[in-house]
Amino acid sequence: MSGIEDRLRDLARSISGPTDEVTAAAKERVRDVLGVASIEGDGEERPPTRRRRIGKRGLLVLAGAIVAGSATAGAISTLGGGGSSPVACQVFPDRGAGPQQLAFYEPAARVDDAGDAVIAWVARGGTVQAVSRVASGGWQAPRAVSGQLPTRYLPYSLALVMGSQGQTTLGWTSKDTSLVDWSPGAGWGSPTRLSARKADTAPQIAPVLSLNSRGQGAALFSAAQDVTYGSGGGASIAGMFPVLVRREPGGPWRTVLSLSGQNAAGISASRARASSWFFVPQIVLDEDATTSILGSGAGVAYARLSPGGRRLAYQQVQSEPGPGRPVLGVDMRGNALGLWMRGTNLVAGTLGAGEGRWRSSIIANPGLYDIFLDFAMNEEGDAVVVYRARARRVPGPRFPARSPTARPDRVIEALTYSAATRSWSRPTRLSPLGTAVNKPRVAIDAQGNATVAWVEGPNNGHGVTRIMVARGAGGRWSSGSALSAPAPDPLAPALAVAPSGRAIVAWTGCRGTTAAAYVSENEGTAWTAPRVIG
């Protein structure tokens, strides 16, 4: 046997390993995720961060800070515009999480016409925290709405939906997926645990939630399974598959369908293939209680399911791979609008109510595969999409000094869709050239007026970062304006707009030497000064 082993070792030695260029790029990515990366001209090592013990009364929040269970917990003070000079604080100093990681931890926000509002985030202490407000009242004290989550499995993001009467569902995935309800009258309920998962390296991706106007709800979440790879048994590796659950208003969640071993939309087709979906499919619970699903991966596929899970429609809308997570909206008349990627092109598809097939066309070329796509649609079918694009003619950072969030060769662009004319506007650049921008978020009101929020600045702890907003309608946009005081810390905005146009933006940042969660509101004219809510 040694002869063949020697030959295999010789063969391995004859094959060259990774190239220097690939190695340098990988090294820079590692530095980025650890927060020890340097932006251009900065070769200094970040001073090691002292680990601090966090007592029960001092739970710094990932995307903000909160003091849970103390008399000062809910104190809301007005920070105003703050000073003009950046303040220094390190969010999550003892997690070892670098700024790049923090960018994954994002607050969530929702508001309705009456002013009922909910903002939620993940606290460093390992709980999901939320603040709520009933109509015109004040913000309540923040409270933990989850149990203690394993610190190794803190959610990366949250799912939050709110109905027209303020009824709200908040979802997260830690080692399991859980949902909890809030309503203006009853407050917060107890979390409902939907499933357990066992994959220890998969990101804690939030479930996908949808509510219709009748108060029915649907949720799509991932459950663990073992996927057998290769012929004849092969290696057993952990995989995830989506599960669709539904409920009637006020009722319990019930499993409708386990979408295991199927295609991009999770629905059996003639060539079913395990795990060919890569991204959590998007769902919309239609007014007639059917569920529309759009998934991407090896291709892009659409399906519509009856309330009981029976397949009513299926179409592979794109055979080419669809990098990134698609988005989907359905208006009150049943017209569907979806967006997905084809290479670096952004594709928009429409499926009119009663029509059998999607029509799609390329509406923009962001020049990137991963564009942080966000999308909003109102009941009339007007929609707006926002994404992060490559800025043409703007030089990027010199190789290998690359930091994903600090690239000046990126811009925020937006397009609007008119349901009346079934047409898209041309892409409009919202951010200035030559400035690093990240995390675009968009929302739309009943009149089709759009609001976009994003982060301007390197967002990696090495420069001034701030929250920007712009508003637009019909393809015309205001220039961006700053909501937050400049800060060196990473920020992530959460944006919500009620049908009436009432808007809130929540984000995290520094308050002195500790982190804080902020909110700013707009009831039609101007944005209020940031308020500390946690």
């Binding site: 391995a12 060259s16 690939v22 990988a26 990515r29 650890l34 340097s38 290769g230 012929s231 290696a235």
Partner: protein, 175 residues
Amino acid sequence: MTTHADGELVAGALAGSRAAADELFARYWPSAWWTAYSILGDRAAADDVAQEAIARAFGVLERFDRSRPFRPWLARIVANGAFNALRSARREVLVAEPNPNGHAPAPAVAHEQRDELMTALRTLSDERRIVVALRYFGDLDTSEIAEVLDLPVGTVSSRLSRALTELRAILEVNR
């Protein structure tokens, strides 16, 4: 020169030390790349998967149990990424590119012998080929392979033994 333990490097990297992060990276990046290449058999795909996986691993470094060895932990993450990529690309043939990057093969292996061995490797089933590749290309021992593939050590050993026997038989038949 001081050699830091993996756990110390992890702690240093988490505390913000670029030197610790760089040393940890330098220590295990080649292994990560070879693990990806062993499964995918394609340099470009291995470049992508290994970069993604090592960035992901360092992104969740706080989850690493410092009492355990780092390499199998990283290899498992890389292997999961590689298997996902493999499935998505529907790749069926591994160990490609007999002369990557224009590098000449080592004198110990003549072109003919080398191509013959490559061809023989391609004829193995996925489960056997990957075990062989992880052992000889990825330089993982059987216990590490077992951890990466989530298999009992005995299963890995038997697959490796059968694969080598099969390879030898193929090469003998071709003579």
